[in-house]
Structure formats: structure tokens, C-alpha cells
């Protein structure tokens, strides 16, 4: 069913069609519209049977999902940013216990300074937690990925996180083909839990494991998570068959076959990048784009294959490891370790900074000609930063950089006035 619909509401629709039994919610922008919409559906009876719980924190929300999932219910929650970090302990725990929880992450920056806008810092912060992390490029993909997410999670007994860019996707109203119940039922079979808290067949879940077996537990978790690399393409194909459109998968190459330079990225920025690549190709610069749909487990083989003809790789990413560089870039570089080609990083769109096509275009041209620094901050206000750096050099304690920058911008009054 085609609908002109906000991304959040479209996702809520898709989640509802997946028949979640327990929805644990706690408000945080920019995912709130998803849980609001689900709340309406549960309260009105459109989504039943379903327990919709207003949690007292994200920690509680994820923990409720853990409990519900362990008791054999299909559990769903959504969060973003600080919320994800607040539940971080439980995020790891859900994966450690092998509970097939599905969570929507409306990607958002992490403070301080507090910032409600989009980037991928939150998702990157939990990349080692043991979850499958899928990134949606469009709202249509976000919708379709949720169908795949439930099936994948329950097939492997691992939790799955569907990442969609906050505001850019969650709040964007656009045309989405919403799957109907029959289609979803074809794609998402009933939940058959691998383990369940059952008073008639009791077990103890969540033992303490010491050095004698912890390595093996971790190895097995890795092996289990890595199986997603085999399962996802199969599920994506089934999705495509039933829904009549391709979405998801591990990676999505765009004009990479004959590209000298390939831009690698995740999420909604791929659309802009494809436009930029098209433009550059029109000008004769052979640039391609490789979207990574599945960030964890990391599809290193597929990435290597997709990039095997490229001579230069530029990773555009919305997150950044302070004191190190790009996060995705490091993973991509590792995937390409057998080839000695440059892997540059463009950090873009932090805290909701618009990622402008023109800026990307000029950076890619620079990169294509080998002139890019290894890590570049797209549209960085260099003068402003330089002023702060100078102050830091002059005085050891120069106050909060964030406030100083705002002062330079004239947003707050200078000291002493």
C-alpha cells in the first residue's frame, strides 16, 4: 500500500505488522514518533495481542525487552543517542544472552554538548555489543529492514538494531510502500525461541562464566553473529520476492564496476553521494558509491569484492573516534588490508550538520586526485577552530571549547560584558 507518510510512522506500521508482543518504550528524540504511533495502535486494539509498556528509562525499556524475550515473547523497542548509551549495559546483555530483540535506532549525536540531531555516534558506540546493525538508506528501506530484522533475529537468536538517520529519515514525509499483513506474515514466521523461561521446563539463564569458558562463549557469539552474513542475503532475496523490490542485503554497490574512486558510506547520505557520483561521472570522473547496509557483522568479503577494481576509497562517515579517526574507515581499511590503496575519511554531518552535495563534490574531486588529507572534516569552519586552538595554546585552561566557539560565533556574550 503506497502512502505519503512520515518515516517514523511508516516504521511503526511495519513493526506492527511484524506482530510484536511486547513493546517497551521510553521517549527520546528523534525516535519518539515511532513509539507514539505504536502506542495508538495498541491502545486502539489495532495491534493485538500486544503489551505496550511505558518504561521509566531506556535501561528499563531494554531490560523489559530482555525479560519479555526470555519469556518467549517477540519484543521491540526504539531509542536514540543518550538513550542508547543509558541502556548500553542492557544492550550488551541482550546480545550476551542471545535474545532476539529488535530495536530501531534513530541515529543521533551524543553529548556533551547535548545535540538532538543526526549522526552515527550512537550506533558506533555499540558496534561491539554483539548486535546485528543494519542501516537504512531510505524510509522504504527502513520499513523493509524491520521485516528482515525480526526474521533474522529469531533465526539466529541474536538482537538486531535497525539504524535510520534521525530527523532526516524519521521525520521525513515521503512515499513509502507499506507492506500488508499477508506479505509480512509470509516473511516473518511465528517466534520459536531458542530458549525460554518456562516453569514447566525450567533452566537457569544468565550464568556467571569464568576464564575457563568465557573465550569459548565469546567465540560462539562471534560465530553466531557472523552467520548473519549468510542469512541476510537469503532473507533479502525473499523480501524482494514478496515485496517486489530490493532492499537491504549486506552492501549496495552503485556504479562501482568501473570506478577508480569509490565512496563508502551508510544511511541516508548515500542518496546525496549517488547524486554527486552521477554528476562527477557526467564530468568524466569515474566515481562509484558503495553503501553498507549491514555494519555488524561486518561484510568484509563483500566489501573487498565490491572494491576490487577501485584505486582509491573514500569513506564518508557520520561518526568519529576522537584521537583516532573514522570508525567505519578503519573497518574498511582492514577489509582491504591485502591491497595497498589509500582509504581516506571524510567526516560529515556531525550533530545534524547538513551534508551538502557541493562540499562532497569538491572533496571527492580532491580525493580523486590524491590531494585529500587522511581525515577531513566536511565543511569545518576552519577559522573558528583555529581561534580556539590558538587560545588553547596560549592558556592551559581556556574554558569550555564549546562555549568559546559559540562566543566566536556571537551566540553568547563574551566574558566580562
Amino acid at each position: 500500500m503506497l502512502a505519503q507518510i512520515e518515516g517514523s510512522r511508516a516504521v511503526a506500521h511495519a513493526v506492527a505488522r511484524c506482530r510484536p508482543e511486547v513493546v517497551c518504550t521510553y521517549p527520546i528524540s528523534p525516535q519518539t514518533h515511532i513509539i507514539e504511533a505504536l502506542g495508538v495502535m495498541v491502545k486502539s486494539g489495532d495491534l493485538a495481542p500486544c503489551e505496550y509498556i511505558n518504561a521509566d528509562s531506556e535501561m528499563a525499556a531494554m531490560s523489559m525487552a530482555i525479560g519479555a524475550s526470555a519469556a518467549g515473547a517477540r519484543a521491540y523497542t526504539a531509542t536514540a543517542s543518550q538513550g542508547l548509551l543509558f541502556m548500553m549495559e542492557a544492550v550488551y546483555n541482550a546480545a550476551g544472552l542471545g535474545l532476539p530483540i529488535v530495536m530501531t535506532l534513530a541515529n543521533r549525536a551524543i553529548g556533551a554538548p547535548i545535540n538532538i540531531w543526526n549522526d552515527h555516534s550512537d550506533a558506533m558506540a555499540v558496534r561491539d555489543a554483539g548486535w546485528v546493525q543494519l542501516f537504512a538508506e531510505t524510509n522504504q528501506e527502513a520499513v523493509d529492514l524491520h521485516l528482515l530484522a525480526f526474521t533474522l533475529a529469531e533465526e539466529l537468536s541474536v538482537p538486531v538494531m535497525v539504524c535510520m538517520d534521525g530527523f532526516i529519515l524519521t521525520h521525513a514525509v515521503e512515499r513509502v510502500d507499506l507492506p500488508d499483513q499477508a506479505q509480512v506474515d509470509q516473511l516473518v514466521p511465528p517466534f520459536e525461541p531458542r530458549q525460554v523461561l518456562d516453569c514447566d521446563d525450567p533452566v537457569s539463564i544468565g550464568a556467571m562464566v569464568g576464564p575457563e569458558a568465557f573465550t569459548e562463549v565469546r567465540y560462539l557469539a562471534h560465530a553466531r553473529l557472523s552467520r548473519a552474513l549468510e542469512v541476510i542475503p537469503v532473507l533479502a532475496e525473499r523480501n524482494a520476492e514478496v515485496l517486489g523490490r530490493a532492499s537491504g542485503g549486506l552492501v549496495s554497490p552503485y556504479r562501482t564496476d568501473d570506478a577508480d574512486t569509490v565512496v563508502v558510506a551508510m544511511g541516508s547520505v548515500l542518496g546525496t553521494l549517488k547524486d554527486v557520483a552521477d554528476g562527477l561521472r557526467d564530468e568524466g570522473t569515474p566515481v562509484g558509491v558503495l553503501g553498507i547496509s549491514c555494519f555488524r557483522p561486518f561484510p568484509a568479503d563483500e566489501i573487498r569484492r565490491a572494491l576490487e577494481r577501485s584505486r582509491r576509497v573514500v569513506v564518508v562517515e557520520k561518526a568519529f573516534s576522537s584521537g583516532f579517526g573514522g570508525v567505519l574507515s578503519a573497518d574498511v581499511a582492514l577489509a582491504l588490508r591485502s591491497r595497498s590503496i589509500p582509504v581516506d575519511t571524510i567526516v560529515a554531518g556531525l550533530g545534524g550538520r547538513p551534508v551538502r552535495a557541493a562540499s562532497l563534490r569538491s572533496l571527492l574531486i580532491e580525493a580523486h586526485h590524491g590531494g585529500l588529507d587522511q581525515v577531513v572534516f566536511c565543511d569545518l569552519q576552519a577559522g573558528l577552530v583555529q581561534g580556539e586552538l590558538d587560545r588553547m595554546t596560549a592558556r592551559r585552561r581556556s574554558g569550555s571549547p564549546a562555549e568559546n566557539v559559540l562566543r566566536d560565533l556571537g551566540a553568547v556574550a563574551p566574558h566580562g560584558r
Binding site: R194, Q195, V196, D201, P202, S204, I205, A213, E216, V217
Partner: protein, 542 residues
């Protein structure tokens, strides 16, 4: 559940593989200690044992345990002076358990319901002569009979019972009770010959082919105080008075009666005098109440019935219609000293209750029998110096109580049995006492003692009706359940419940518990929390 996640999800109860008993440095052990009541009982009753049955409402079972040692529950439930209750640890919680009242309840039930003692064992062919049918003689006869021996009791008096009948007034011990419990013994096959005084034990034994004899003739002869008495003075012996009364002879005591003595017999005779119409009965005693040999309850009853007491007084002389008393005081050791102060007291009669002696002439021809101070000497097995001749009860001195006599009769029976069989008598093992400090008194809820009803004092004066009534079934049950089972497991499940390691195995009703040393860490909670102190903690054997 198949395909459980490795290591994180575990099969229930699998920790049984971890034998935490290896941590232990001390281990608990169950012990059985001697309860203070059992320790104190002169009759040797397993009081705790029969209370345990009574607690369940199994009165016949309780009675069966009782009559293993004592054939006179109904008598003892009235006439015993209850050393068990004096020893009872429950007095540290509220009041001692009313053991005696329960015993009486059981005894009365047995009479009412016609409960029977077990049939005697197979006949041994041995014959035993018992001289005297007081509590000691009857007790010995009962136990000997149960062991399969043929027993013949010879009683000088026309009726059996000895002091039960001729010493204790009927208002304390109704005769139908005495008769019923003696009948139970004769019904077992014991031969009882009354009106048959034995004057020469030696010849009777030889003539009638007895293998052993038990002499229990009691102490029937009242002591004389050698009080100067005028011709007109009426001086009566307490023992003879009580005996005569039983045979229907009412003594003419007059209205003003003085009883001289401070023992239970003095109380008995004073209270009897009241019932015979005396209006002013005075007990004269040379020391003070706290030094009186009579039991408190007897003194209280006498006072309640109007008997007056003159402490620190002796009778200097008796004349017609009056006595001269001399005041005494006590020296540093509590012995009375004459003060020379005299006082006159009007009295129609003086009853002497100054103690009793035994008539030992029947033993004169038995070689080896030694006597001293008017009593027969016996060894710890109740045997006199003459082989095969045993003695017990008042005739051997001792405490001279009915309960003591019953105990001596039973011990003598065991000794006689062994003697005739050519064995050494077995003695009960000495078990350490279950002292109060071993108990965990927290567990015992305050439960006030059930009191037996008593006839109002005003209604006692004109008759010999029983003064103290019995407990009803509910009260007896309540009272039995006040027992704290000192020193012996009574299956309260506390050890089973308080073990943090589930290392106590419950073996089922009557079978108690066992420690599971595979898991017991030796924490000692069971020891600390055992209400009755029946668990010890000992160092772990190496």
C-alpha cells in the same frame, strides 16, 4: 529445552555436583540427652516419652509408655510430689509442665476405658515371694509378672495397697482408683494373699519353693516422742489413726486437735481431723515453714481448710484438755534450740506425726541381712545381704515416697530377674543432662499452665471427697503440648528448615533426620536453632 546457549544457560539443580561438605571444619551430630524430668523421676518414668505420645492425642499410646515403668498412673497422678515438675526447664519460660496432671488424666482414662497392660511374657518357671502390697511390692510384682515370673504377694492387712490405702487419706487418693490399679495387676496373674503377715521370711521361702523374695513391708510404726503426758491426756499415733479410719474406726479426737510434726503425714492427719469435725486444728512444728518436710501444696491446702500452724514450737507436755508448748529459735545452722519460754494451748487431743519406722522382725532368721537405723541395707541392685532376698520401699529408708517406692520395686524386679537368670543386672546408661542452657527458648511460646480444679475449702470439711479434680481432654492435650522435649529430638523440622544448604534429610515421621555431609558446610545454625538442644557441633574428624 534443546540447543541451550553454551555456558550461559544451565540445567536446573546441577550444583548437586558441587559437594560443599568439603568446606566443613566442624560437623553437627544429633544427640539424645537425659531430660530433667526423666532424670528427676524416682519411678524412672520416661516422662518425655509418654508426653510425646500424649501431644498427639494418642493417650492410650502415652499410657502404654507410662506403664512400661509405672503401673500406677492414676495413683501417681494424685499422690506423687512431682520432682519432675520441680526439675522442668519450662519454668524458665513460664511455668513447669503439669506432668502430674497429665499423668492422672491418662491414668483415669485407662481406668474409664479399660485399657490393658501387655500380657506377660512366656512363663519362666521362677517363683518370687513379695512381702507387702504397698507401692514397692506391687510395682515389683507387676514387673516380675511381665517378665514371666510367678509372683505371690503376702499382705498382712485385710486390704492391699499399703500406704496407698492406709497412709494417704481418701480425699487425696480415692480408693476406687487404688482398687482399679491394683486389680489390673492381679488380673495379670499375680497372686495376692491378704491378711497374711509373714513373720519368718526364711521359712516361707524354703517351704513354698520361692527362688527369690522381695521385702517391702513399709514403715508402719509411728515414732514416739516420749512426751510427758498426764493420764487424762489423749495422745494418738497418726499412722494408727489413718489406718484405723480406713478400717472404719473413727477416733474421738474432740474439737480442739493438735498435730505434732511437720511432714506430709502431719498435714494428712490435720486435714483428716478437720473432716472428722474438729473446729480448731493446730499443727505444731519445731522449725519454720521453709524447713518443713511437708510439701508446699499440702501445707497450702491445710491452711485453706482452716488448719493453723504454730512454727518454732515443741510440745513439752500433754495434760487433759491442754498442752504446754515451748518456743524454739533456730541456731546458725537452722537447728531448733529451746528457749525456755512456755505457753499453754487448749487441746482435746494430740496426734503424733513424727515419722515412721519399719518392723523388721520377719528378717531375723535370714542370714546376712544387715539393718541400720531401723531400715534394711541394700546394695544398688536392691539386694539385701542375704542372697536372693531383695528389699525396697520405706523399709529401706530413702526418700519414703510412693514414687520412690514404685521405682525401687521396678529396679528390684529387674535385679531379681537377673539374679534368677544368673545374670548381672543391667543398669541404664548414664546420659548427660539436657540443661536449660542448651535449649533455644525463643521457640517456645508463652502458654500458661493448665490448673486442675480444686474443691472449694468450705465444701471439704464434712467429707472425704477428692479435693483435686482432673484435667479435661483439651486441657490435658494443651498441657502435654507445653513439653519442650529437652535434649531429645521431637521432630519440629527446625534443623530441616534452617539449613541454608539443604543438608538435612527428613526421614519421615518417627524417624527423625540425617545430616547430608556431602553438602553440610558446618555453619552450626541447626545447632544454635535446635529448640531442644539435641544437636552438637563437633570438630570435623580428620
Amino acid at each position: 529445552m534443546k540447543d541451550k546457549p553454551f555456558a550461559i544457560t544451565l540445567d536446573v539443580g546441577s550444583s548437586l555436583a558441587n559437594k560443599t561438605g568439603s568446606w566443613r571444619v566442624e560437623r553437627p551430630v544429633y544427640v539424645d540427652r537425659l531430660s530433667p524430668c526423666n532424670h528427676a523421676c524416682p519411678a524412672g518414668e520416661d516422662i518425655q516419652g509418654w508426653l510425646y505420645r500424649a501431644e498427639e492425642g494418642d493417650y492410650e499410646g502415652a499410657w502404654s509408655v507410662l506403664v512400661e515403668t509405672n503401673p500406677f498412673p492414676a495413683v501417681m497422678g494424685r499422690a506423687c510430689f512431682r520432682p519432675c515438675e520441680a526439675a522442668c526447664n519450662r519454668s524458665g519460660v513460664d511455668e513447669a509442665v503439669g506432668i502430674n496432671a497429665i499423668e492422672r488424666f491418662l491414668g483415669d482414662q485407662a481406668i474409664d476405658q479399660g485399657w490393658e497392660v501387655p500380657v506377660p511374657g512366656p512363663a519362666t518357671g521362677h517363683r518370687v515371694l513379695v512381702v507387702g502390697s504397698g507401692p514397692a511390692g506391687l510395682s515389683a510384682a507387676y514387673h516380675l509378672c511381665r517378665l514371666g515370673h510367678e509372683v505371690e504377694i503376702h499382705e498382712a492387712a485385710p486390704m492391699p495397697g499399703g500406704m496407698l490405702r492406709y497412709g494417704i487419706p481418701a480425699y487425696r487418693l480415692p480408693r476406687r482408683v487404688v482398687d482399679a490399679e491394683i486389680e489390673r495387676i492381679t488380673a495379670m496373674g499375680v497372686t495376692l494373699v491378704t491378711g497374711s503377715p509373714i513373720t519368718d521370711a526364711s521359712s516361707v521361702m524354703a517351704g513354698d519353693g520361692f527362688d527369690a523374695a522381695f521385702v517391702a513391708v513399709g514403715a508402719q510404726r509411728g515414732r514416739d516422742a516420749e512426751i510427758p503426758a498426764g493420764d487424762a491426756a489423749r495422745v494418738v499415733d497418726a499412722v494408727l489413726l489413718l489406718h484405723g479410719l480406713e478400717e472404719g474406726r473413727r477416733p474421738g479426737l474432740g474439737r480442739r486437735v493438735v498435730v505434732y510434726g511437720g511432714g506430709d503425714t502431719a498435714m494428712d492427719v490435720a486435714r483428716t481431723a478437720e473432716r472428722l469435725g474438729a473446729t480448731d486444728t493446730v499443727v505444731v512444728y519445731r522449725r519454720t515453714r521453709d524447713r518443713m518436710p511437708a510439701h508446699d501444696e499440702e501445707v497450702d491446702d491445710a491452711l485453706a481448710e482452716g488448719v493453723r500452724m504454730r512454727w518454732l514450737s515443741t510440745v513439752a507436755r500433754a495434760e487433759g484438755g491442754r498442752l504446754v508448748l515451748e518456743h524454739m529459735d533456730l541456731d546458725d545452722e537452722g537447728l531448733p534450740r529451746p528457749t525456755g519460754e512456755l505457753e499453754e494451748l487448749e487441746a482435746d487431743s494430740l496426734v503424733l506425726a513424727l515419722g515412721q519406722d519399719a518392723d523388721l522382725s520377719l528378717l531375723d532368721d535370714l542370714s546376712g541381712v544387715r539393718t541400720s537405723g531401723g531400715t534394711v541395707e541394700v546394695d544398688p541392685d536392691q539386694m539385701t545381704g542375704c542372697s536372693g532376698v531383695f528389699a525396697g520401699g520405706d523399709v529401706t529408708g530413702g526418700e519414703r515416697t510412693i514414687t520412690g517406692a514404685v521405682g525401687e520395686g521396678r529396679r528390684a524386679a529387674a535385679s531379681i530377674d537377673a539374679f534368677m537368670d544368673g545374670r548381672a543386672p543391667t543398669r541404664p546408661l548414664d546420659r548427660p543432662l539436657a540443661a536449660a542452657d542448651r535449649l533455644n527458648l525463643w521457640y517456645f511460646e508463652d502458654a500458661p499452665r493448665m490448673l486442675r480444679p480444686r474443691l472449694e475449702a468450705a465444701r471439704r470439711r464434712t467429707n472425704f471427697d477428692e479435693v483435686v479434680g482432673g484435667l479435661g481432654a483439651d486441657e490435658a492435650l494443651f498441657e502435654a503440648r507445653r513439653c519442650m522435649s529437652c535434649g531429645n529430638c521431637f521432630e519440629c523440622d527446625n534443623c530441616f528448615g534452617v539449613c541454608p544448604d539443604n543438608a538435612v534429610i527428613k526421614l519421615g515421621p518417627g524417624k527423625r533426620y540425617r545430616f547430608d555431609l556431602d553438602y553440610c558446610k558446618g555453619c552450626g545454625i541447626c545447632v544454635q536453632e535446635c529448640p531442644c538442644g539435641a544437636i552438637d557441633l563437633i570438630p570435623e574428624p580428620r
